[in-house]
């Protein structure tokens, strides 16, 4: 399964970026093969508005089935839902740790945003 994690730096040792829409990078990891891809999200880092919607569409284009992040706003959640991408919030620590938590089945998907718009 392809999973995207929001990241502050371009490697799996990076801290999880707490902001979904304005995350610096999306790191996509294939949980079966362990293959890792780094995708730059800087354009949304500086978006005037709608960063969560754009980042969610990026995640959809990257063909992921799940995203792991810190916090998720309502517009991003709605966009991910339309793309049938499962969202997991509240992740702390590194990207690698987040993936291990996910693979171990210790995370629960969210069914709504956990922060207000424009967080």
């Amino acid at each position: 399964m392809r999973v995207a994690v929001t990241a502050r730096e371009a490697n799996v040792e990076s801290q999880v970026d707490q902001r979904f829409g304005r995350a610096r990078y999306l790191i996509v990891i294939d949980t079966e093969t362990g293959d890792t891809e780094v995708h730059d999200n800087e354009v949304n880092l500086n978006a005037v508005q709608g960063a969560g919607i754009q980042t969610a569409q990026n995640a959809a284009r990257l063909n992921v089935e799940a995203v792991l992040t810190g916090h998720l706003g309502p517009n991003a959640f709605r966009t991910l839902s339309a793309a049938a991408i499962t969202a997991y919030t509240g992740l702390q620590g590194t990207v690698g740790q987040a993936i291990e938590e996910f693979k171990a089945g210790r995370l629960n998907p969210v069914d709504s945003a956990d922060v207000e718009e424009h967080w």
Partner: protein
């Protein structure tokens, strides 16, 4: 067509825009001029507190937002590409619209090849109009929770008559609502205060007006406090300082009671009359 549009703006909030704009409107009316006061600070309009108008007309203002007919949509993505505000998303064959992000430009409707997008209205606020003792009064009130003020400001400004004088009370800052408010003015008064904050934000406002190519001058409020840096800056930039309003406790007391200095303190009627003359002369 003989009309004069004066906009009162400032980089920094709380410098005295409304004080200057309402007093100018009052002295213009006292002089028998045909004058309108238009409060474009639609997020927090307060000119009515001082001018005390009787509101005669109220009109709702809506912006068009898109509605997508999924039967006609081919998921081509053109609407998403043209939208600069991320108000349309496309996921597979599903189009999502985000009305709160929509600026109502109508671009998506124009580019849709199958005519799948139509407009519906979203109310952003109201425009109210009335009379205030010889001053024609107009203001906009933005709906609480609404982020999109420029379309409402545009509607307030559509009430400017094609004759007489119009005084625009602008919101503070240098962003879209301010540009929408001052655009088209014949002269802009920048109100500031002689403090480091006042100077910093005055510089930003001056840069904005130079880009917009609008003539302007400065009013320094509470002019005998703070420091000289605002005056030094205006001198070095050859910017006219049209008026220095003293740090007079009586003005603050009148303000706190919702009274105009030009009414409560007769000597200030002359002060604002001289400012009005200064603006009209500067414009000629």
């Amino acid at each position: 067509m003989d009309r004069t549009i004066i906009a009162v703006a400032s980089g920094k909030g709380g410098t005295g825009k409304t004080t200057v704009a309402t007093n100018l409107a009052r002295v213009a009316a006292i002089q028998g001029l045909e004058v309108s006061y238009l409060d474009c600070d639609v997020e927090e309009p307060n000119g009515h507190i001082f001018l005390k108008p009787e509101i005669e007309k109220t009109a709702s203002v809506c912006v068009p937002v898109p509605v997508v007919d999924e039967d006609k949509c081919t998921a081509c993505g053109k609407c998403r590409e043209i939208c600069q505000y991320s108000a349309i998303a496309l996921l597979g064959k599903t189009v999502l619209t985000f009305p709160n992000l929509c600026h109502g430009c109508g671009g998506c409707i124009l580019v849709c090849p199958t005519g799948a997008i139509t407009e519906t209205g979203r109310e952003v606020g109201v425009v109210e109009e009335g009379m205030a003792d010889g001053v024609r009064f107009v203001h906009g009130k933005l709906r609480i929770g609404e982020a999109m003020s420029p379309p409402l400001i545009r509607k307030v400004k559509e009430r400017i008559l094609d004759h007489g004088m119009a005084i625009i009370d602008s919101p503070p800052g240098t962003s879209c609502p301010v540009i929408q408010s001052v655009r088209g003015a014949d002269y802009v008064l920048l109100v500031t205060e002689p403090t480091p904050f006042g100077l910093n934000d005055l510089k930003l406002a001056v840069e904005m007006l130079r880009v917009l190519n609008l003539p302007f001058g400065v009013v320094v409020n509470r002019a005998d406090m703070g420091d000289e840096a605002v005056f030094d800056y205006c001198g070095s930039e050859s910017i006219d300082v049209l008026l220095r309003i003293p740090d007079d406790r009586r003005i603050a007391e009148a303000y706190s009671r919702g009274r105009l200095a030009a009414e409560a303190l007769p000597e200030y009627r002359e002060v604002f009359a001289s400012l009005l003359k200064g603006v009209v002369d500067a414009r000629l």
